[in-house]
């Protein structure tokens, strides 16, 4: 008797509960499937023993071994890591300085413009930036005669800055200014306030920004395609080149590793971005 009454009441509560949205969980599942099914298939076929990326025969790690031994992939991976690492370090330092200036100084004329300029790579179509960068670098190369991977790194640094800037700025805006005032009140001169209070508290934001910059750089195709010189093929460019000649599970294997790195980094960003409260 009691149970029937409770069930009936629950039904009524469900009907009038404002948080109850019929059909939402089904839509969510549909979206998840559409987004992740292709990736699941890609990962699955990286373990295929066969040459085919559509017909499953047997589990094997052959393609991972092949990819690992492929000098083209090795070289491309090293280029990617080098460019991404250097771009990450430089862009994170610049983004930290920019975030400090735009949150920790009294508002000045043109501050909004400065923020807009920092975020510009997010607004301008990437292909436009790519063409512009290509032409700009061509002029510099002609004038100075200097060439090398520095151009690619510079281009990556530039478009990484807004990605590093966003989490750092968000963190700074969350941080109560009174902590820094308290430090100053307790006889800490500005540099020590920064080193002992601002920087340690900002660290999660800086790490999140750095990893975001790293991933964005690792991922980039369009600008790299325009700017990269001979011998500067990055992993995405290599994959793109291979796909033109037909896809083998070797590409799946490389892509899976690539995916794994991204997932690990994003997990870190998520963990650092959260307050440890």
């Amino acid at each position: 008797m009691v149970d029937i009454a409770t069930t009936a009441r629950r039904k009524i509560i469900k009907g009038i509960d404002l948080k109850y949205q019929p059909g939402f969980s089904q839509i969510t599942w549909f979206c998840i499937v559409v987004l992740y099914a292709p990736i699941a298939v890609l990962v699955l076929f990286s373990f295929n023993e066969n040459r085919s990326v559509t017909v499953w025969t047997q589990f094997s790690l052959d393609w991972y071994v092949k990819a690992w031994e492929n000098e083209g992939i090795q070289h491309a991976a090293l280029v990617s890591l080098e460019v991404a690492f250097v771009a990450m370090v430089i862009s994170t330092i610049l983004a930290t300085m920019a975030a400090l200036v735009t949150t920790r100084t009294p508002p000045y004329r043109g501050m909004n413009i400065a923020v807009a300029v920092i975020n510009q790579p997010l607004m301008v179509p990437e292909v436009v930036t790519a063409v512009a960068t290509l032409i700009f670098f061509a002029i510099i190369k002609q004038a100075t005669g200097i060439s090398g991977i520095g151009y690619l790194i510079a281009a990556h640094t530039a478009f990484c800055i807004p990605f590093a800037y966003m989490p750092i700025r968000a963190r700074l805006e969350d941080m109560d200014l009174s902590l820094e005032q308290a430090a100053a009140d307790l006889y800490a001169p500005p540099f020590k306030v920064f080193r002992r209070v601002t920087l340690p508290l900002l660290m999660p934001g800086i790490l999140a920004g750095a990893m975001l910059a790293f991933i964005v750089s690792l991922d980039d195709v369009i600008i790299t395609l325009f700017v990269a010189g001979p011998g500067e093929t990055t992993l995405p460019l290599y994959i793109l080149g291979q796909i033109r000649r037909g896809v083998t599970p070797e590409i799946n294997a490389v892509s899976t590793v690539f995916l794994g790195i991204s997932v690990i980094l994003v997990t870190f960003i998520f963990l650092f971005g959260k307050d440890k409260k």
């Binding site: 902590l179 005032q181 308290a182 100053a184 009140d185 307790l186 020590k192 209070v197 340690p200």
Partner: protein
């Protein structure tokens, strides 16, 4: 330069703080305020939000610079000195404890910045932790502490470098009633034990009266009255001060004659007696406002020329006593407060006619 015994701990001279371009278009947070705070004093800045009390505190701490005027700390000019070069410490409203440090690290921060030797740091940290009774929590992270404990750590951190003046920016406002009461006693004790001048900012009049040696009541960037708690409560100089601190009746009346700091007044409602005069009498017109505290009134049985009378309109009970609202023939409403002394004491009900006596020497004439 030797400091004289009479030198004020903080001497504020005609100091103004204006946010914006100028007086006309900007916001005047502090308007030519002059104030001397004595050494070893528990001094309270009391006023509603936006009265300039926190601005004044921030000017002393060095977080803001005055637009005009000067501030002296034991005779020395503070002008141009950044916060980290001023020997004053602040207890912030929301404590502002460093979340990435332990309690002990928080407290030793200021001492480290002053290059205090390590052995002395650890003994001082122990000493101030003892002072606020927090020894057992020295190695806790600050986010594992309750509000009251955080409050104590904030106090210990500000006291550790032995500042010449301690600034407290509404530090009790985030605590619940009981804890706030406890901390009031605690703060007073700390001030006595350390001998440091405390400047306490609050909007809570009761807090101000219980703890302070002297109180400055502020409004709209001005200091309206400075005095000890009894002067502020019993002899408010201005209508705003009277209204802001405690419950009060303000009745209309006329001055019959003046005699020094006192005057003989006749209330429109009938009563005639002596009342205190404010320092500035220039603004007083023919008809003046006269303040009487509700607890200075009592019921009497018979009518007489020395009594007020009216009918009881409302009675409210608040545990330790009763408030009676009485409407007089002049149309003025007067509030009378009686202590709860047990049953049978108050035989009045709403609608009854009542006669009221005023305690001697309890009236005060207010300037506007």
């Amino acid at each position: 330069m030797s400091t004289q015994t009479a030198t004020a701990a903080i001497d504020i001279r005609e100091t103004s703080k204006i946010y914006g371009r100028n007086r006309e278009t900007g916001v005047v947070a502090l308007d030519q305020v002059s104030l001397a705070i004595r050494d070893n004093e528990f001094f309270t800045l009391l006023g509603p939000s936006g009265c300039g009390k926190t601005t004044l505190l921030r000017l002393i701490a060095g977080f803001e610079q005055p637009t005009h005027g000067e501030i002296l700390l034991f005779g020395e000019h503070l002008e141009g000195l950044p916060p980290y070069k001023r020997p004053v410490n602040t207890v912030f409203q929301h404590y502002a404890l460093f979340p990435h440090m332990t309690v002990a690290e928080n407290i030793s921060f200021g001492l480290e910045m002053l290059d205090t030797p390590n052995t002395q740091i650890s003994s001082t940290v122990k000493e101030v932790l003892g002072l606020v009774q927090m020894e057992h929590l020295a190695n806790r992270k600050t986010d594992q502490l309750s509000g009251g404990q955080q409050q104590r750590v904030a106090l210990a951190r500000a006291l550790a470098p032995k500042p010449k003046v301690l600034l407290l920016d509404e530090p009790l406002s985030a605590l619940d009633f009981k804890l706030r009461k406890e901390m009031q006693v605690e703060l007073k004790r700390l001030q006595n034990e350390t001998g440091i001048t405390f400047i306490f900012v609050t909007h809570d009049q009761e807090e101000a009266l219980t703890m302070s040696d002297r109180v400055a009541v502020m409004r709209d960037g001005l200091i309206l009255q400075v005095g000890n708690p009894r002067e502020i409560y019993d002899r408010p100089a201005k209508r705003f001060v009277a209204d802001f601190i405690g419950d009060i009746n303000i009745l209309k009346g006329r001055i019959l004659s003046k005699n020094g700091a006192q005057a003989t007044v006749k209330l429109n409602a009938g009563y005639q007696g002596t009342a205190g005069l404010p320092a500035e009498t220039d603004s007083l017109g023919d008809e003046v406002s006269i303040a009487i505290r509700p607890e200075q009134l009592s019921f009497v049985s018979g009518a007489g020329p020395e009594h007020l009378s009216g009918s009881i309109q409302h009675i409210s009970y608040f545990g330790s006593g009763f408030d009676y609202e009485i409407v007089m023939p002049t149309g003025e409403t007067i509030m009378l407060q009686l202590q709860n002394r047990g049953a049978g004491d108050h035989a009045y009900t709403v609608g009854d006619r009542a006669h009221i006596a005023i305690s001697e020497n309890s009236m005060q004439i207010l300037a506007d």
